[in-house]
Amino acid sequence: MFENAGMKPQLGRRDFLKWASLLPFLGVKWPGLVDQPRGFSRDSQAPNVLILVFDTLSARHVSLYGYQRETTPNLARFAERATVYHAHSAGGNFTSPGTASLLTGTYPWSHRAFHIQGTMSRLFEARNIFSLFGSKGYYRIAYTHNQAADALLYQLRQHLDERKEPRELSVLFHPVPDRLFPNDYNVARTAEAQFLRSGIGEDLWPSSLFLAWFYNTLWGQRAWSVKQKLADAFPRGAPDYNSQERSGLILLLEDAIDWLQTQVSRLPRPYLAYIHLFPPHAPYATRREFIDIFDDGWAPLPKPRLFFDQEASEEHLNLQRRLYDETIAYVDAEFGRLYDDLQKTGALENTCLVFTSDHGEMFERGIIGHVTPALYHPLVHVPLLISRPGQAVREEVYTPTSAVDVLPTLLHVTGQPIPEWCEGEVLPPFGEGAAKSERGIFTVEAKENPKQGPLTKGTVSLRRGRYQLIHYFGYLGVEREFELYDLENDPEERENLYSPNNPLAVELQKALEEKLQEMNRPYLA
C-alpha cells in the first residue's frame, strides 16, 4: 500500500476495511493492562488479614481490661477466641504517629509522621505493611474515616489495590480537593482548608476574603439539614467528626460496618484489609439507645495535676468521661454486629482479625482528649486482640507490647520474613523468641519538632516490665522532667516514683536518653 517511495501514502477502502477488522481487539482486556488485583503469586491457602482500628479507644475505658463500667460486652465475646494483650502501647498519642507505627512497625522518631496531618518520611513509602503483603500476593484494601490517617493511606496508595476515600462512606463530606486534585490530594487538601476553612484558633482565618463567607454559610446550611435528619437517632448531635476544623465530616459507623460486611465476602483471597474507623473519637456522638446508660454517678478519685493541666474541672472531666464511655458502648455494639456476621459466614476460619486503636484518650489531671504533650497511661494503653484463623480458645498475654509489634507479628503469621528496619518484634504466643518482657517499649509525642530534624521538644515514655518512665523535654517551663510509675502496683499512676536517687529511675532515664540520642544522631550530622 505504501510501495511508491516519495509518494504520499494513501489508505484505500480495502485497506481501511482490513485494518478495521482489528478494531474489536481494542476491546480485549489484555492481561497486565487491565486494572485487576495485583496478586501474581496468589496463595489461596494463605490467611486473610483484617485489621480493625477504632480511633481513640483507650484500653483504660474497656471493660475487657477491667474498667468498672461495662463498656465492651461484645469485645469480651470476641476475646473468647482471641489472644488478648493486656499491656499494649500505642506508638503516639494521636492519629498520625499511632497509625504510622502500625503501618510501618517503627516508632515515630523513625517514620517521622508525628505532626497533625503529617505524613511519613519518604523512605517508608517503600517500607510498610502494604508493600510487604503485596509482594506475597495479597490483595490490599484500606479505608479510613479519619483524614489524618487518610493522609498516610494516600501516601502509600501505590501499594494499595483499593483505597476507599473517606467521602464514599460519609453522609456529609465537604473538602473538594479529592475530586479536583486526585493526584495531589495531601497538598491540595491542606491548601483548600487554609483557603476556605481555616479557623481552628481564634486568630487563624481563611485566606479567602469573600468566597469563604459564601462557602461556609452554604455548607453550614447543608450540614444543619443533615444533622436535623439524624437528630432522632443521635439526640446529642450528629457524628460530625471535624466540626472544630470546619471540615464537615459527618459519618455513621453503621454504614462503615455494613460496607465492611459486604467486602469480606467480595474481596479476592488472600486479602489484607486495613479499616480505620473514627468512633469513639470526639464529639462522642452516641446513638439514642446508649445515651445515659452510664449515668451512675460514679466519679474516679482525682489525680495529681503535674504537667500540662488544661484546667478542666473534675465535674467536666467526669461528664466527658461518661459521654466517651457511652460512645464506646455504641462502638462495641457495632463491632458485635460485625463479629456476629464474621462468625456466621465462617470468615474467621481463614482470617486473622486484629482489633486495636491508634491511641487513647484521657479525662483526668485537668486534661481532656488527646491533644496534649502528656503520655499518661490512658493515652498510651490501647486494646489489642488478635484472632488467628480458626482460633477457638482465649489466650492472655501480660507482657508489654507495642503497636510496632503488629506488623512483624502479621508477617510471621503469614509466613513472611521480617525486614531488619522493623523496630517491633513478633508477639507472644506467635513464634519462637517472641517479644521479651524486659525490652523497652516507647511512645513518642513530638509534634513541635521539624520533620527532618532532631527531637528537641517533646515527650517520650519508656515502658519496661511493670514500670513506665515519662520524660518531658524542651517545653517552656518544663525543660527536663521525669515521672516514673509502677503500673503493676499503681495502675492509676497516682504515685510518682521518680527521684534522681532512685536507682531504677536512673537506669530507665539513662536507657531512654541514650535511645533518644541514638535516634537523633542522623539529624545532628
Binding site: 487554609q194 483557603f195 481564634e202 485566606s207 476574603l209 468566597l211 453550614g220 446550611q221 509534634k447
Partner: protein, 175 residues
C-alpha cells in the same frame, strides 16, 4: 456595552484594587499558618501548598473583579460617573475591615442560618454604599484612594506574576 461604560484602564484599575486587597488578606493569613507547615512539610510540599493558595487567590481576584464590573454594568451610569475603581476600593477595603472584625469577634458562618447571612450581607452592602457616598463628598479623599490604586499596581502585577507561576506549579503537579 462594556466599552461604552468603561475604559480598559478603568477595568485594569478595578482588577488592581481587587487583586491587591484579596492578596493582602490571603498572604497575611497564609503567613500565620505557614510556620506550622514548615515543621511537617518538605520544601517542595511547602512551595506546592503556597502555590495552591496563590492559585485559589488569583481565582478569587478574578471572580471579585468580574463581580464589581457586573455591578458597574447593572447600576445606573450616573451613580458611578466613571468611578468604578473608587467603588471597588471602598467595597474591598471595607470587606477586609469587616471580615477582620467579624472573625475577631468569633463569627462562624457555618453556624449561620440563611437570615443571618442575608443580614450580614445587607449590612455590608449598606455600609459600602454609605462609604462610597461619603468618599464622593470629599474629592481629596477620592484622589488619595486612586493614588493608592496607582501605587499598588506594580505590586499587584508582582502578585499576579507569582500567581501565574503558582498556577503552573498546580498544573504540573496534577498532570
Amino acid at each position: 456595552m462594556f466599552k461604552q461604560r468603561f475604559t480598559a484602564y478603568e477595568i485594569f484599575q478595578v482588577f488592581v484594587v481587587c487583586s491587591f486587597t484579596v492578596h493582602v488578606w490571603s498572604v497575611y493569613n497564609l503567613l500565620k499558618e505557614a510556620p506550622a507547615w514548615m515543621l511537617r512539610m518538605s520544601a517542595g510540599e511547602l512551595t506546592a501548598t503556597i502555590a495552591y493558595v496563590l492559585a485559589f487567590t488569583l481565582f478569587e481576584s478574578v471572580v471579585v473583579c468580574l463581580g464589581i464590573v457586573l455591578l458597574g454594568v447593572l447600576l445606573p451610569s450616573r451613580w458611578l460617573r466613571s468611578k468604578l475603581a473608587t467603588l471597588a476600593s471602598v467595597v474591598l477595603y471595607l470587606a477586609i475591615l469587616g471580615s477582620g472584625v467579624a472573625y475577631k469577634l468569633g463569627a462562624r458562618p457555618e453556624t449561620w442560618a440563611g437570615k443571618e447571612f442575608v443580614f450580614a450581607g445587607s449590612l455590608f452592602v449598606a455600609a459600602s454604599a454609605a462609604a462610597y457616598l461619603f468618599v464622593l463628598r470629599f474629592p481629596g479623599l477620592e484622589r488619595k484612594i486612586l493614588a493608592i490604586v496607582d501605587r499598588v499596581s506594580v505590586l499587584t502585577l508582582a502578585y499576579v506574576f507569582f500567581d501565574l507561576i503558582a498556577v503552573l506549579v498546580v498544573i504540573i503537579r496534577n498532570v
